[in-house]
Subunit: 439 residues, 2 copies
Amino acid sequence: MTDSPVSSGIARLATADAGFEARLSSLLAWEGVSDAAVQQRVDEIIEAVRRRGDAALVEASNRFDRLSATTMAELTLSAERLRQAYDGLPAAQREALAQAAERIRLYHERQKPESWHYTEADGSVLGQQVMPLDRAGIYVPGGKAAYPSSVLMNAIPAHVAGVREIIMVVPTPDGVLNELVLAAAHLAGVDRVFTVGGAQAVAALAYGTETVPRVDKIVGPGNIYVATAKRAVFGQVGIDMIAGPSEILVVSDGGTAPEWLAMDLFSQAEHDEDAQAILVSWDAAHLDAVEAAIDRLLPTLEREAIVRESLARRGALIECASREEAMALINRIAPEHLELSVANPEGWLPEIRHAGAIFMGRYTAEALGDYCAGPNHVLPTSGTARFSSPLGVYDFQKRSSIIHCSAEGASTLGKVASVLARGESLTAHARSAEYRIKE
Amino acid sequence: MTDSPVSSGIARLATADAGFEARLSSLLAWEGVSDAAVQQRVDEIIEAVRRRGDAALVEASNRFDRLSATTMAELTLSAERLRQAYDGLPAAQREALAQAAERIRLYHERQKPESWHYTEADGSVLGQQVMPLDRAGIYVPGGKAAYPSSVLMNAIPAHVAGVREIIMVVPTPDGVLNELVLAAAHLAGVDRVFTVGGAQAVAALAYGTETVPRVDKIVGPGNIYVATAKRAVFGQVGIDMIAGPSEILVVSDGGTAPEWLAMDLFSQAEHDEDAQAILVSWDAAHLDAVEAAIDRLLPTLEREAIVRESLARRGALIECASREEAMALINRIAPEHLELSVANPEGWLPEIRHAGAIFMGRYTAEALGDYCAGPNHVLPTSGTARFSSPLGVYDFQKRSSIIHCSAEGASTLGKVASVLARGESLTAHARSAEYRIKE
């Protein structure tokens, strides 16, 4: 008997295979649609919180998180409590968290859009004024997915944007608080924390209760109840994208150590069983070497079981014919994370139309971006990079158009508006414009 | 008997009234929520179009728009047909439309965000790449709300953004085509038009059919079926805000002619019975004069009946105590359109936190902005200016984060990432980062 490791079960595909496109489509398919039962429970929870405020919020929290609170005061954490959590961390963690926060802040400062305006020849002024939201709500999942890095990534852009008040909600199943999460909230500039979660927390943020102030936008990931509730309150408040499972597409030219690539794939797959890790290369021998490294390293992982399931269900090693085919796959998949483990990754950029974040070169492991490179780790999943962007400062600001016509400008524009308004049979529009036309 | 006109029935409020806040809240209240029956019909239509494509799309169009098409070819208009519509317009309309399109284009060119990056001391590069969407879908309502100006306002930002293909859908109830709408589509750079509407058009754009290509984002207003369908497909594609009725808040210092202000209010109220027109002033005699002008001018309006109903149901003349109270009302209401009919409107800008578009000074009638000033007329309604922005070039682009670590940079960041990843028990993340740490 040999000591050879158990195969990972990761799919091996080639673009030349018959049925490749169908295989790929089914591999990528993901629908986080909530069924009618979830929808109805969420609607009931939202209605209860809207109608009965704090009382309903406390009841739902007791029920779903197995607590025994009597008032919202017991489910409220002060800024002082957050500072204590930060002060209480071991020095190495405190420093690493502070360094990450500082780098994230510096990157996001560059992202800040500015107000602008211009003056026309007739003296009219046109422009756009950029202002922060008054109040943002950050949803942070509790339990096993409570990540301090997510607190930094969601709250720092809001803080940089100039949001007046940042409210965080985080459920505490069985009353368990995560000190790292609270410390991150302190660093990121969170003003108040309520230890509530689920659809009830989303409802409280959207409509306000006696204790929880109504916010203008809710961001942050959550389970199917949270996602369904966010979709339901969209319009009453702003929301960020509804996130699917996390995924990575790695493109390798064969020049990166197979162990490095295997570990990069694992770092995605270890999130949960639905996470997706795909490697593309035109070098078949290299794919063999990565597959062998996967089999060899898998048994050394703490989260081996999750990684095995995720790789077997949703992972793939894809052999393509050329750099051009790899590029086509990138734009077809529109990955959340794209790792370009190639020589001269800059040369690839102009052709990449869809990707949440692009990690360039052999040294830029996705994990560096997840924690501390600076750019946001909240990224569009499941192909939504086709139309959406990383979470950013721009998500916590909004614009107002500025129009200031001179007497001269109003007269000129009034003539055009009059013709068009009459073409639409909106004659009060026309007459309002015509009043401003000079003799 | 005197010849005095019938009173408009517009509400007269004062901030000093007992119960003012409650009156204002009920006046502003608007919920465009779809009931369960609408939801179910929309779900069925979406499912049918997803499953049976063109066939279901043709069936639904025949049924809801009273057509008798047999194939999608009969519901497709070519770019050539759009050009014909433009060429066929009377010269005055053709010129006014072209001038409006040109001004809208110039304004939106200024709005284009640029890609950016910076290099750190250790040679690492961070940045953000901005790219257009591949394909955008513009929904244009048919029937009485078919506005060529809306075609310009929705399609031009997409064109300026560099969207590769712009698809427009517009229902043609009883087969009636609006030549002005088609001409506007020609000017705005629309590539293809399908004469379909309702939830079936939204479903076709979101999922694609044999004839209608799948788009990446759907924008444009529609009735409750369209709004419900947009909410349902959100995530599969991007969508713009779900719009409520149009509204204006005019603030006057008493120095603008009462007739001008009356007509500005009418120009909002004439849209439909749910539209909202509110005037605020600290000059009670001036409010009296505007009210008299309203009563006097109302009988001269083509759309008198609509305006009367809209003013009686949702309009108001509000007397406040001071400029400060007027400012508080602006930020409380977060109006779609804000007209500052005051001396020195610039002085007001820094304090205005929430407004879709700000029309400054006595000459800047909202109607000028609706058609041809340049800024977009698709604006956040029902207080959503608290968290959202005018439609813009940025709605048709998305960003990708750029991270390119040098060997040196990866080593430094790897140490920080390792500590944080281990703090989150994500050890494959930690090991992926650690591979990049130098000895």
